[in-house]
Symmetry: C2
Subunit: 535 residues, 2 copies
């Protein structure tokens, strides 16, 4: 294996975009061949996009996969010495309830298919739905490249190898090539490197290729790597970028960025790919002068360019002067188009239409702002970015159809305390201080009534986030959280708020997943529930 | 078995409500004992509620199940001659990724547990997530009741019995008791009766007990039954109602209602249980004078009582006189509180705040109405009922954060042509004609611009629904639908609309599931996609 020149192609597919995905694949084949690679490996379902969801039930989507694959196999004649391993869905000969496709990888060279492998271990925990949409395979595929025996294992297969590695070794396999669709979360890149130990223990090399790019709420981070039979990491592709790396060419291994930089890149990629893959160009963000909207606007500018971001100030009778000033300051630093749309005329019109209770009057301001943002969105074909953070989303500190609207929520999986950390990180690491210090330092407020601050309704965010991390990320019980020293009444209150907010979350925009338990695909809780009465 | 007196308890649990669910279980135990029953069977997870979703990962929810079960086993001493089969979740000794619970049924008598069975076949298609949240069992549980050998199979187990029935028969089993959580969809009750044939073929009787009630978007219809070893249906419980039936007591078997009546009952139960189980009392409905809102208000009154339904007319500069008149006529027939809130003041206020494109101006009217309905909701703690139908939801003929808002969408899984049919059915079968003829007969219009009618943007609903039924319910390809005689350009247009509406649906309220492919839990499609380019 040490002599085999292996290329890892980290592409950014869009689900179902066979034309665009095929183009990236052909480019990678040509580049790899030029670099003298003998074996080229793509990520999981690189041809179809991952995860395809229930589109895998559609026979036209399966038919298109087959057609696109044939065209690429034909194209491989232009690189006759290169063996290619390409992931795609394919029609199974049997079906199981709705599932009728395999999650496959086809190996081909010079216009000829050497074989097709079907993923055997189908994950169905966390964000994964593979059991729902795929039929598992049960056959090894061993193929030879210039004298080196290789085998294929797809994603979950390498996390649950069972006795397969011993059997592959006995068959003379020296390297396993593995297409993966592994979304980023904190600490994940390191965990992936660790699974290569099981391969090294058997004297098998591992060519691990991940996808890159945002697909709905998932962000694939790339970070593909090659580990030799002796356990040496000889190749490491870039994080959060399209990349093609080839062994034996003296390319330097990319380094893993620090965690805040990874979060920064994950959110940026999430924003830019969601906007691009849904066919949009720009976004509009409501700027309150607070830290959440300042961070969202900054991330959007860095992801999309300042000409594609519109900021809107929407002052009310309760807005403080610093809110308007801080928003203007931010817009100037970012160089974005800033509009000002007062909400008081509409607020008065609604007050003349019906009597409003205190809570109705607070909510209506947030909803008027939503109407204005959606009007700008409709007028100019811009996506609305939501500015809520994970702490707010968790406890439901938002107005449904008000500040909870939007196509994409960049901070949805970032706790408020991390919002501050990331803002400071950006100010330290960008060329200029983009986010006004005042937005970072002032006390958070929804400004829906006079002198309102978040701590009227919520504990300090340090405390709140401490409780939330236990309840949500660790599935801890109330008793366990109290045992860590948090106030019992407060923990109970927070838990009740988290459960009551389930219905708001059920109608919330998606956002980039940064943790194992994000609010979205990774959590499925019934709305009409009651529990804990006996505990 | 013919001599064994079996009771089928069709209860309506709420997920996690151990107090309320236990009370219903104790009542059933007492009633069954009084009727002289020897064996009492409940539905799937009757103690915990079904489906528990990711709550099954919480150790406090599992702990509460255990505690509640012990209390009921203790209570069974009050009915010493009754053997009880009760469904509940329980902590497994092993875990698999996030899953750490079994989907179980415990058999007990006179304070003593005879054994616990764990569901073996875990469904993961359609609306089901059992593979995600449960660990499968692998042991039969055979128990004796006054000389008759019985075994337990839970829900999916009886649909995929494999060789188990032969083995059970060889062990002397005469009757299988089966707790089920089987949501209603058209034609489902008949299909369940048909699976008893496999049992009859082996000379085994089947006591099939289903849950009843709405749980989020699922509606369990009851329709429990008992089939003897000879294949005779001797007991059949009510459809869509809590029920307890006991063999040998001469109770008459309930008859299956006609399909429109089943749909009618399913939606009513969906409304009343969602409102009740989320801790609310009443609802508010925007009344446009059109058929959708008229039907929703009528269903709500029949489900909740007229005193718990508020109607709101929200006329605009484009509203026709008949709209106001028809809404008033409806409110009078239903006897509900009717409010009128003009939207033009707010519309003008927004027009003075920013310029509105044609589409923005149409959408803003729908959004002002949403703000008003939510203000009424906030003022009076009423849930907003959404009035969209499946045809509109499918093609995205609605305004996000406008008429697409609400806590619950009663017509979400009912095509427009079926909305008309159900309205006529209600007028024929209720004591008085509740829905104005004019609302049923006039041309549908959103009334967001002068003289607008739905057919400006959509084909006739008969044609649209014909296409949609193929694309959605049958997963048909465009070519297949065209092959049935529909216009190619139209089918392509409808298909594009369905795909583009995915993001609106991702933020839509839930509604009662009436078909296999409802928009909600039963469909998981990525938002940022492109496909079909090669087909």
């Amino acid at each position: 294996m040490t002599e085999l020149r292996i290329a890892l192609a980290q592409t950014n597919p869009r689900v179902g975009d066979y034309v665009g995905n095929s183009e990236a694949i052909r480019d990678a084949i040509s580049s790899a061949a030029k670099s003298g690679a003998e074996l080229l490996v793509f990520g999981e379902l690189a041809l179809t996009g991952y995860p395809p969801g229930d589109l895998a039930f559609r026979s036209d989507v399966l038919g298109s996969a087959d057609q696109a694959l044939r065209a690429i196999v034909e194209y491989s004649k232009t690189a006759p010495n290169l063996t290619v391993v390409l992931g795609h869905i394919r029609k199974a000969s049997v079906s199981n309830h709705w599932a009728k496709a395999h999650n496959s990888a086809t190996v081909f060279r010079n216009g000829t298919v050497l074989g097709t492998y079907d993923k055997q271990e189908l994950p169905n925990y966390d964000i994964f739905d593979d059991v729902r949409i795929f039929i598992p395979g049960n056959q090894e595929l061993i193929f030879e490249v210039n004298g080196t025996k290789c085998a294929v294992m797809i994603c979950e297969d390498i996390w649950r190898p069972g006795s397969r590695l011993k059997a592959l070794k006995a068959s003379g396999v020296e390297v396993v090539v593995s297409p993966n669709g592994s979304p980023w979360e904190a600490g994940k890149p390191q965990k992936r490197l660790e699974i290569s130990k099981a391969f090294t223990a058997e004297g098998i090399g591992l060519a691990y290729v991940n996808l890159v790019g945002g697909q709905d709420d998932l962000v694939f981070d790339g970070n593909s790597f090659l580990v030799t039979q002796k356990g040496e990491v000889t190749l490491r592709a870039k994080a959060f970028e399209v990349d093609l790396i080839v062994s034996g060419t003296g390319q330097e291994a990319s380094k893993e960025p620090e965690e805040l930089e990874q979060i920064f890149k994950a959110i940026q990629l999430g924003i830019s790919d969601y906007v691009r893959k849904t066919g949009h160009k720009g976004v509009v963000v409501g700027l309150s002068g607070g830290i959440d909207s300042a961070l969202v606007a900054t991330l959007a500018v860095l992801a999309l360019g300042k000409e594609n971001v519109v900021g809107v100030r929407m002052p009310s009778r309760f807005s403080s002067r610093h809110s308007l000033g801080d928003a203007a300051d931010l817009a100037e630093r970012l160089g974005i188009d800033l509009r000002t749309l007062e909400i008081d005329k509409a607020h008065q019109a609604f007050e003349q239409t019906l009597n409003l209770s205190a809570i109705a009057s607070e909510n209506i301001q947030a909803r008027i702002r939503a109407v204005l943002l959606m009007a700008v969105s409709n007028n100019e074909n811009l996506l609305v970015l939501n500015t809520g953070n994970k702490s707010e989303v968790a406890v439901g500190y938002s107005t449904i159809y008000g500040d909870s609207i939007g196509a994409y929520a960049p901070l949805k999986d970032l706790y408020k305390t991390d919002v501050w950390k990331l803002s400071k990180w950006i100010n330290t690491h960008m060329n200029s201080e983009l986010i006004p210090e005042n937005s970072i330092n002032k006390a958070p407020s929804a400004e829906l009534r006079p002198d309102q601050v978040d701590t009227d309704s919520l504990p300090d965010y340090e405390v709140l986030d401490g409780i939330l991390r236990q309840l949500i990320e660790q599935h801890a019980t109330i008793a366990e959280v109290v045992g860590m020293g948090f106030d019992k009444d407060l923990v109970n209150k927070v838990d009740r708020m988290v459960r009551a907010a389930e219905w708001k979350r059920s109608q919330a925009p998606i956002g980039p997943r940064l943790s194992k338990v994000s609010f979205g695909r990774g959590r499925r809780v019934p709305l009409a529930t009651k529990f804990g009465d006996l505990s």
